[in-house]
Point group: C2
Chain length 101, copies 2
Amino acid sequence: MFIAMNRFRINPALEEEFVETWRQRESYLDEVPGFQSFALLKGPCFNDYVLYASHTIWESKDAFEAWTESEAFRKAHAQRSAPQGTYLSGPQLELFEAVLT
Amino acid sequence: MFIAMNRFRINPALEEEFVETWRQRESYLDEVPGFQSFALLKGPCFNDYVLYASHTIWESKDAFEAWTESEAFRKAHAQRSAPQGTYLSGPQLELFEAVLT
């Protein structure tokens, strides 16, 4: 099992728009070999930002890497982004390999 | 869905012992209501540490919080830890609520 998390610091004033943009986004992930699950996660709130992370589970690192070079990836990332000022920092990509399950 | 991640910076020289300690650990999680899955994740390697994270998926935040006050939690955390010097920092607990799946 392989997990890819993309962490974002989101402007608290634009949080609803941020989630709505993700809700309306077509991920094209269901067609991708080795893809297992997706979630948009809300983490802790701070004074000046809210931590969010996209969280995808893959069969393997190879499956994840193949997706980043696929047409499904290109199409997913060509969509409308959230309003300017939404992302205070990030995305910060963190990749994890499961060593015990 | 609720995800609890505990991040640790691990001494690269003691990485094998760290994983072995987790392998031998009895988590007692299977008996816990609302528990869905566990993984020990290996993240990126840096010059002076390797990022690891324990990753548990729960039905809800309530299920996670009930576990932290349970006998199963107490028993799991009363076990032998990794050798001194293994943990360079952490655990840093991060909690995430799924807002889209």
